[in-house]
Amino acid sequence: MAVITVERKPLTFLERTYLPQIAGGLKTTFKHLIAPKKTLEYPEQRPAIPVGYRGVPTLVKDPNGREKCVSCQLCEFVCPPKAIRITPGEIPADQAERAHVEKGPQAFDIDMLRCIYCGLCQEVCPEEAIFLQNQFSMSGYTRAEMVNHKDRLYELGGTLPDAHHKWDKKKAAEEHGNAH
């Protein structure tokens, strides 16, 4: 390896007094003394989350409060670290509001120790039922606590507006009958 000798230049007079550097440093200090505060008193204060942020994956309900997920298991399939585990189930025929959907999850678990917040589950979901929302901090004392079960996922997810009303339309069509 070639050795390059760098010649060290002697300091100028001003540099040897250190005064310009001290003045420069103090300027920054005083500027921040009067500038608006940037630090947040976390966790009491929380940052504004930008649109498109990928937080903890959650399950959402439609504006009618109906469960949107139909347990198609596509998110379970696509999830790279296999964080999602679903037990599909049948919606009983006697539940007038939801029976036409036929299928819904019996159990839905997301292991947040596995989740890598990639958002693929949200992207693949044909029912727009799973969203990575604002929630970004998850903690727990045990591994089991870090698994979000179905009720917790709905609690975190809440309700999101729905532009399609796919299943409402389906039900309307069924009631209309389109018979001959």
Binding site: V70, C72, E76, E90, K103, K170, A173, E174, H180
Partner: protein, 564 residues
């Protein structure tokens, strides 16, 4: 389906590739031989051809000949015989090959035709793949992706038809998904001979239904689910249980009778979700009885035997029992054990100088895929030499010997002795060593109980009624505490003073090949998927109980007696 040495071969040209196929082959099958996919719905190789879905449209032509002189007309551009292409598409399923037939499956006309058919099929389709069990193995999904237009122009309201209809105890119908291919109707009529399905109404209102007052409840109803190309017919047992793309497929054998239908066991992480047929044109074609599809429930049954002690401790106790009663031991093997287990059982009987017998299990054959002999492997016991004569339904000899005090120890393998005619008092008079997966009266009375595996937890071979030896593979890991039958048997043989035999299949097969002449050339690994037919002549004189079933005709007893 080329049979070897088929004399009537016809040369056809498919997308430029020449191939000789047997006369009577249709274009779909001929194209399959040159790896050209002709998409289709209604055609099924084992059912009659109806040509109603129109998905298999192809372009075809014949070499041109001069109508007057019959001389071939040559094409000056290519120097070959000119082809007269028919100006409209033809269906591939209903077109049988003829000499010189030319077929195009990729021309613009074919592409247009397929897009058109797909568009019509999807017009009234509910597109509810997210809640449809067929998703992942649906021909409509596959062919819409492969050959469809990719977008919909339909803005009108779709038809509404009945959903969630129970056609019978095991089949659920969603009429909106049905593409009216009529496969299920033809199956019921032609194979199951239980003509209960039909279409009512006309045009796009056509609806599949059971005839009034009838139900789809024959023992073959689930085959309609297998052949339904879409998710219209689904299995009520498998409904909404698991997505097929998560399931691991393991080739296995149906053990409910001596037919030995080939199956696929679908499991995920040690849980079996369903059993479907595997095509074997010599045994079960593409069909499977419904009763064979619920056998997997034995794996997680509540009455599975739990392990109480280590195998070594149990073997030591069994050995002590063997020592206590030399010459007074009987072995009851099983026609439900694999060939390998029966081979080890024979060694056990020899080492113990004991008599060996099986228990027969006879029911009514259904002339299709359930034979009268409900033991899947009686012939395996004959081939391995465990038994010489056919098993009797009741163990009367053994009962008499127990009563006479001649038998003190009974080794029962997977057989409930009370079901085989022994009384509780007789069981109490002997010391029983029991090997089995499930609890029963015999295991309750036994002194030593080994908890062993169900057929889904182990690999092995079975010899069916055609003397076809077929292999079944382990689909799921052994239940906690259960030990492989081969391990237990090999240790028992050693404890009884017999040879040291391997419990590993590959090694064991070396021993079997060396000792059983009929299996001399076989290894477990080389056994073909469709099985291997063994020589049946040494057993031709035995009065087997089976009647006629699909691909099996019993030998005439008179003829058998004459050759014996």
């Amino acid at each position: 389906m080329i049979a070897p040495a088929q004399p009537d071969l016809v040369t056809v040209n498919i997308d430029g590739q020449e191939i000789a196929v047997p006369k009577g082959t249709n274009v779909i099958e001929a194209a399959r031989m040159v790896n050209v996919d002709v998409p289709h719905y209604c055609y099924h190789p084992k059912l009659s051809v109806v040509g109603n879905c129109r998905m298999c449209l192809i372009e075809m032509g014949m070499p041109a000949v001069d109508p007057a002189t019959k001389a071939p007309i040559m094409d000056p551009a290519t120097g070959k015989q000119k082809i007269n292409w028919i100006p409209r598409p033809q269906i591939g399923c209903g077109t049988n090959v003829s000499p010189g037939l030319h077929v195009k499956t990729t021309s613009p006309m074919v592409k247009d035709a397929r897009e058109g058919v797909m568009e019509f099929l999807l017009i009234n389709h509910p597109l509810d793949c997210p809640i449809c069990d067929q998703a992942g193995e649906c021909k409509l999904q596959e062919q819409a992706t492969g050959y469809g237009r990719g977008y919909s122009r339909f803005v009108e309201q779709k038809n509404v038809k009945p959903k969630r209809t129970q056609l019978g105890p095991r089949v659920t119908l969603d009429d909106e998904r049905c593409i009216l291919c009529s496969r299920c109707i033809r199956f019921s009529k032609e194979i199951a001979k239980d003509d209960v399905l039909g279409f009512v109404d006309r045009g796009s209102y056509s609806t599949l239904t059971c005839y009034p007052g009838k139900k789809l409840e024959n023992n073959y109803s689930l085959n309609t689910v297998d052949i339904c190309p879409v998710g219209a017919l689904t299995s009520t047992d498998f409904r909404f249980k698991m997505r097929v793309w998560f399931l691991k497929q393991t080739n296995a054998i149906d053990t409910e009778s001596s037919v030995g239908a080939n199956t696929v066991v679908w499991s995920r992480e040690g849980t079996i979700y369903r059993i479907t047929p595997r095509r074997n044109d010599e045994v079960n074609d593409t069909w499977l009885a419904d009763s064979a599809r619920v056998l997997y429930k034995s794996v997680k049954a509540a009455d599975r035997l739990a392990a109480t002690e280590t195998v070594e401790a149990l073997v030591a106790r069994a050995a002590a029992l063997f020592k206590s009663a030399p010459g007074a031991i009987a072995v009851v093997g099983s026609g439900r054990s694999t060939v390998e287990e029966q081979f080890l059982t024979r060694h056990l009987a020899t080492a113990l100088k004991a008599s060996a017998q099986l228990v027969s299990r006879v029911g009514q054959g259904d002339k299709l895929l359930v034979s009268a002999d409900r033991n899947p492997n009686v012939r395996g016991a004959l081939v391995t030499g465990l038994i010489k004569t056919l098993p009797a339904p009741q163990l009367t000899d053994l009962a008499a010997q127990i009563d006479a005090g001649k038998i003190k120890v009974v080794v029962a393998i997977n057989e409930d002795l009370t079901a085989a005619g022994l009384t509780a008092a007789q069981l109490a008079n002997v010391s029983i060593v029991y090997l089995g997966a499930h609890a029963n009266a015999t295991s309750a009375a036994a002194k030593v109980v080994f908890s062993t595996l169900t057929v889904f937890e182990k690999s092995g071979t079975f010899v069916n009624q055609q003397f076809r030896i077929q292999k079944t593979l382990k689909a799921v890991p052994a239940a906690a505490g259960a030990t492989d039958d081969l391990v237990v048997l090999a240790q028992l043989v050693a404890a009884a003073g017999g040879a040291t035999l391997p419990a590993d299949l590959a090694l064991l097969w070396k021993v079997i090949a060396a000792e059983v002449p009929a299996l001399a050339t076989m290894t477990f690994a080389n056994l073909p998927e469709t099985g291997l037919v063994l020589d049946a002549t040494p057993f031709a004189a035995l009065p087997f109980v089976e009647g006629e079933t699909l691909h099996y005709k019993p030998a005439q007893p008179a003829v058998a007696a004459a050759t014996a």
